[in-house]
């Protein structure tokens, strides 16, 4: 069997608080296979970005990874020291951030910033780095690469900047690209183009962990999807399976809450209640208070993940009880 690009098992991230530790990421396990795009979807604050940061080794103090394992092609990332981690970042492991408006250095021309990424990780001359930068710009569909590379970030549109970010992330051909809501700040046309780019990258052999809160985007793009709620993965499975046969009440709620032109005139379904405040999670299943199926078992303990069909894992006591 081919080696997995990324294997996260039982990852826990904790922040110390006055009332004990708060865990934005709690016992998260997921796998990204080679050449796969895995989606990570959930509401704001559910721990998606924190999971991504944990993989990049960019969790800010006082937060800390307090448990679990992160393997990049079998290499244990949590065991690496700062220097080793730095040599991986931008090299085998790259990240595209949410807001292209603020994630480029405003006083450095964008071409130079991409060159920097190359020079940090490859022993090449300045001219060679420049050549590769222009090539990367063309690959992500930036026209007039020569001219654009000398522009400052504020002179470029949001879509162009996000392309620059992607070029920067891809220029060293990473094994794994983490895309943290890369299209949230863009309009739909740019979004479609960026998604197309993601697919091209996958086809060139880069595995992608794609974070989004947009189910439509996930459905279009991802091979495998994980739904996160309150720091845990509620349900994960092949995208098709998950969208056709959602089992966890939360996933069903999310899918039900997508508006559609077919259902004109009907009232939009919602999930009642709201996300519990950090640090005040209910005992038992974190989704319990908002769930129609919640009973004594649910209030008593947090459900462990169960595999209900190959690759389809759910954290719910009632999974499979109710027909789809």
């Amino acid at each position: 069997m081919e080696q997995n690009t990324l294997e996260i098992s039982h990852l826990t991230v904790s922040f110390p608080t006055d009332r004990g530790g708060f865990r934005p990421v709690n016992d998260v396990s997921l796998t990204v296979r080679k050449g796969q795009i895995v989606g990570l979807v959930g509401e704001s604050g559910c721990g998606k970005s924190m999971t991504a940061r944990a993989v990049m080794g960019l969790i800010r103090s006082p937060g800390k990874v307090t448990g679990g394992q992160i393997l990049l092609e079998g290499k244990d990332l949590l065991a690496l020291n700062g220097k080793e981690m730095r040599s991986l970042r931008g090299n085998e492991l790259a990240m595209v951030f949410q807001d292209p408006m603020t994630s480029l250095n405003p006083v450095v021309p964008v071409g130079k910033q991409v060159e920097e990424a190359i020079l940090l990780h490859r022993r090449v001359s300045r001219e060679e780095a420049r050549k590769r930068t222009l090539e990367a710009f063309r690959n992500v569909g930036i026209s007039e690469a020569e001219k654009r590379s000398r522009s400052y970030p504020h002179e470029l549109s949001g879509g162009l900047r996000q392309r620059v970010m992607i070029a920067m992330a891809m220029v060293c051909c990473p094994r794994l690209l983490i895309a943290d809501e890369p299209t949230t700040a863009l309009d739909v046309i740019m979004e479609a183009q960026i998604l197309q780019l993601m697919r091209q990258m996958r086809d060139r052999g880069t595995s992608i962990l794609f974070i989004s809160h947009n189910l439509g985007v996930i459905a279009q793009l991802c091979d495998y999807t994980c739904v996160m709620y309150a720091g845990r993965i509620a349900e994960q499975g092949d995208t098709r399976e998950l969208f056709e046969r959602p089992v966890h009440p939360y996933t069903r709620g999310l899918l039900g809450a997508v508006s559609s032109l077919d259902r004109k005139g009907e009232e939009l379904e919602t999930i009642r209640g709201s996300v519990p405040a950090p640090g005040s999670l209910p005992a038992g299943c974190p989704f319990g208070p908002r769930c129609g199926l919640c009973d004594e078992t649910c209030r008593g303990a947090c459900p462990e993940p169960r595999e209900i069909s190959p690759g389809h894992i759910v954290r719910c006591f009632h999974a499979g009880e109710v027909p789809v």
Binding site: R86, A94, N105
Partner: protein, 303 residues
């Protein structure tokens, strides 16, 4: 440690070789600034004139700065002495020209030194945080805790008179304020997404500070520079007034103002000329600073 040094050296070399990149952009920015901002252009002219006057002082005047003419004390402006003479019969214009040498040096040299020290310590403190931050910032607090004039006097008294000691004193006084501002700026920048993005491509500490943090502090540093140059000139004149610092018959503008104060009513020209020059120089530096800040801040460029 050695490795780091090498890294920095390479970085510097790369920048030197990089002739047509930022440098030409910088030139273009300056050019645009002069076209748009008349005050800044005029300021540059004034500063250049002052520098030329300082350099060519011996050519421009028949007198020497310490030529006494006791028969001609406190004489008002005339054809022989365009700006009059002082209490020792020395030509005031001549002393102004020679004074420009010392005053400009005193404005620029210690300011540059203190900004280099302050920027280095400030970025390191802000970036590293923790114990490094505490040590550096408490040191700065100690410097700032003393009334600056008193501290300057203590340092000058310990070191003795002389130009180099004035440089040292002013540098020692001013780095702390610079370090504070730069540290605050670094803390702000540290939390921006582009610094995080830079970390995500594997940029390490020293390179981060030099390439990403410091360039973003540049507008702040330029403003600090233009505020500190005139302040340094004024501090020096206070020290000279107190008998520490530049000693007569050497000339600095501050010294001349202070020398003239006893004759303010009988010979106001002694004070007026150097006072006016100080004002012009201070204003020129401030306008230049404003112009530079606007030109170098990429957010304010409209192309």
């Amino acid at each position: 440690m050695k490795n780091r040094q090498k890294e920095l050296a390479e970085l510097h070399q790369r920048r030197l070789e990089d002739g047509n990149g930022p440098v030409s952009a910088f030139r273009a920015d300056l050019f645009r600034m002069f076209r748009k901002n008349r005050a800044a252009a005029l300021s540059v002219l004034v500063i250049l004139l002052l520098i030329l006057a300082a350099v060519f002082a011996p050519v421009l005047t028949p007198y020497s700065y310490d030529d006494m003419d006791l028969g001609n004390r406190l004489s008002p402006p005339s054809a022989a002495h365009l700006l009059g003479t002082d209490e020792g019969g020395r030509d005031i214009l001549t002393r102004l020209l020679y004074g420009a040498r010392i005053s400009l040096l005193i404005g620029v040299v210690p300011t540059v030194v203190s900004i280099l020290i302050g920027a280095a310590l400030g970025t390191i403190a802000g970036w590293r945080g923790g114990i490094t931050d505490t040590v550096i910032m408490r040191l700065a607090d100690i410097v700032l805790a003393f009334p600056s004039m008193l501290l300057a006097m203590v340092i000058m008294f310990t070191l003795g008179d002389g130009l180099v000691n004035v440089f040292l004193t002013l540098a020692l006084l001013n780095w702390a304020a610079v370090a504070r501002v730069v540290r605050a700026e670094t803390l702000r920048l540290k939390n921006t997404e582009y610094i995080e993005a830079a970390r995500a491509i594997g940029v390490s500490g020293p390179v981060m500070l030099l390439r990403h943090i410091l360039p973003n502090c540049l507008p702040t540093l330029i403003v600090l520079f233009t505020l500190n140059v005139p302040a340094a000139i004024l501090t020096e004149s206070s020290l000279s007034f107190l008998g520490m610092g530049i000693q007569p018959p050497s000339a600095s503008w501050g010294l001349m103002v202070n020398a003239g104060k006893n004759y303010l009513y009988s010979a106001p020209w002694i004070c007026a000329a150097p006072g006016l020059i100080i004002m012009v120089a201070v204003l020129a530096f401030n306008f230049l600073g404003d112009g530079l800040r606007d030109a170098l801040d990429p957010h304010q460029k409209n192309r």
